[in-house]
């Protein structure tokens, strides 16, 4: 079974061994810089110098590339079509029948696509190199409520189960004569008999799970411990502070750029 730890890809690399927060902060700072620094190509530059080398060291670059393309391509295509062809005014680059491709629209689409690619690849890099239970533990130690951490982690594992359950429900209703094959209308009509049991059945499950959690002292107040151990170093803490300072500098600079013309 792949995806035992969410999206985590098991590799023995230095990147995998880093403290989850170090990776989280790094990825967020990359995103921030790529999004905030003006220029059409800035997201791509951050991608090339910020994300790609790290993914390479962590030996997850092929996975990052493959799944970034899979996720980002539909967005990119729609952006290029909508913004490139339907930009009002602007310089015409090429006439395509009744449509005209505008330079400004195209540039806007390229920047937008870059931002999406950067966000997706950053998210994948984090998740491929970080076990989600370790990430949630790190966040809990920083004050994230246990209930939120529980919901995130259990959702990751329950989704495949949900899909199997949906299939069983589909089978049960078809066996009672519900037509699910054929026209769009037939399939729409079949939707309710699928969704209702999925939701009602989940309520029964949730009640039992709530009891099971209570038995395991989930609502008990007071200090909790953890079997998992996260390795942090002074060096990593310093790096995280530096990254955050850098991010704040970028935000400040960007704010200044926005504010200056208005004050002048």
């Amino acid at each position: 079974m792949s995806g035992t730890y969410g999206l985590y890809v098991v590799r023995q690399t230095g990147i995998h061994r880093l403290h989850p927060l170090t990776k989280l902060v790094y990825v967020l700072v990359c995103l921030l810089i790529g999004w905030l620094i003006p220029g059409v190509w800035s997201p791509y530059i951050v991608l090339l110098i910020g994300v790609v080398p790290v993914a390479l060291i962590a030996r997850v670059l092929p996975e990052v590339i493959k799944n970034t393309i899979k996720t980002a391509i539909p967005f990119a295509i729609s952006l290029i079509i909508v913004q490139g062809l339907f930009w009002t005014g602007g310089t015409i680059v090429r006439q395509l029948g009744p449509f005209s491709l505008k330079a400004e629209g195209l540039l806007f689409a390229i920047r937008g696509t870059g931002r999406i690619i950067l966000a997706v690849s950053g998210f994948l890099l984090l998740n491929y190199t970080t076990r989600s239970d370790e990430l949630m533990l790190a966040l809990s130690q920083k004050g994230l409520p246990n209930s939120i951490s529980y919901v995130v982690l259990s959702t990751l594992q329950v989704i495949p189960r949900f899909q199997r359950k949906a299939n069983t429900i589909l089978d049960a209703q078809r066996s009672r004569g519900l037509e699910t094959e054929g026209s769009y209308l037939i399939r729409m009509r079949a939707l309710m008999p699928l969704v209702v049991p999925l939701l009602l059945g989940s309520i029964v499950d949730i009640e039992e799970r709530a009891i099971a959690l209570e038995v395991r002292a989930f609502s008990r107040e007071g200090a909790k411990t953890s079997l998992l151990v996260l390795h942090d170093t002074r060096f990593q803490r310093a790096i995280r502070w530096l990254l955050m300072l850098g991010a704040m500098a970028v935000i400040g600079w960007r704010f200044y750029l926005w504010l200056a013309p208005r004050l002048a």
Binding site: D133, S154, Q157, A212, R216, T225, L227
Partner: protein
């Protein structure tokens, strides 16, 4: 260890009580089976011992439920966790889903109790061994079979060292292989005498095999209380919607046909039956 004094309970909106004037004392270390038809009150009794009646289901509870010296009604679920452990039928719903390996799943309760890490390690190793899960420690919980998941649920509760372990039909959703796995763990547990165990169960053959004592519930009332051999072969069983094992029935038929003398103790298990008919 467990003391019920004139306990009655009704679920919210229910017209008749689920438990009706129940009084019973269960001493420490006893392995006590609770049998009865569906709706007789077995699950409600289990819930009451673990505090989910009334703290989770609400409704009206009268009388006193006392477990390990704690008055359940005056306590809270958070306080009871760790003192009373509860295991129920559906193995899937007892797995937290928030831990990615069997070992981490077992740790969940201990983490919430704030048990130091070094102690956690020792206790987890011991319990995984006990439940026959040591070889599966690094596996994802949801990749286990039903019987393995149920053993994991039992281990996850036992590791918290509850004074009382309550099991509500722990094998009713398992296949024979899974049931046997779980009963093997229960048999080992009965042998240790460490915990006081209350087991609600339909499979009388298993009840006969290792319970020290059997309680029979019928329509929320305690109608019989005694040794397994006496209770399970009693002619009253059918009055309470319970079917004696086929061994008991065959023995009774043999007596009726004059093939065996009346008055012999009726068998409940295969071994006893083999002796009876030898």
């Amino acid at each position: 260890m467990i003391r019920l004094d004139r306990v009655s309970y009704s679920y919210p909106r229910a017209t008749s009580p689920a438990l009706n004037d129940l009084s019973v004392d269960i001493p420490a270390g006893q392995f006590c089976a609770v049998i009865g038809a569906n709706g007789a009150g077995k699950s409600t009794l289990c819930s009451a011992l673990a505090g989910f009646v009334p703290h989770f289901y609400r409704g009206r509870l009268t009388g006193t439920v006392e477990v390990a010296g704690i008055d359940i009604a005056a306590s809270s679920l958070a306080e009871l966790a760790g003192t009373v452990g509860l295991v129920f039928s559906n193995p899937f719903n007892q797995i937290t889903g928030a831990r990615f390996s069997v070992r981490d799943e077992v740790a969940f309760g201990l983490e919430n109790m704030g048990v130091p890490r070094a102690e956690m390690e020792t206790r987890i190793d011991y319990i995984l061994q006990f439940a026959g899960l040591a070889g599966l420690a690094e596996r994802p919980p949801f990749a286990l079979s039903g019987g393995q998941q149920q053993r994991l649920a039992i281990a996850s509760v036992l590791v918290m060292r509850p004074r009382v372990l309550v099991l509500d039909e722990p094998t009713s959703q398992l296949d024979p292989v899974g049931s046997r796995e779980v009963f093997t763990v229960l048999r080992d547990l009965a042998a240790t005498d460490e915990a006081t165990v209350v087991l609600a169960e339909q499979k009388l053959e298993w009840v006969a095999a290792f319970a020290d004592r059997v309680l029979v519930l019928h329509e929320g009332r305690l109608v019989a209380d005694g040794l397994p051999g006496d209770i399970l072969a009693s002619p009253d069983l059918q009055r309470y919607g319970l079917e004696p094992t086929r061994y008991t029935r065959a023995a009774r038929a043999a007596q009726a046909a004059g093939l065996r003398p009346e008055g012999d103790t009726l068998p409940v298990t295969l071994e006893q039956a083999a002796e009876f008919f030898a």
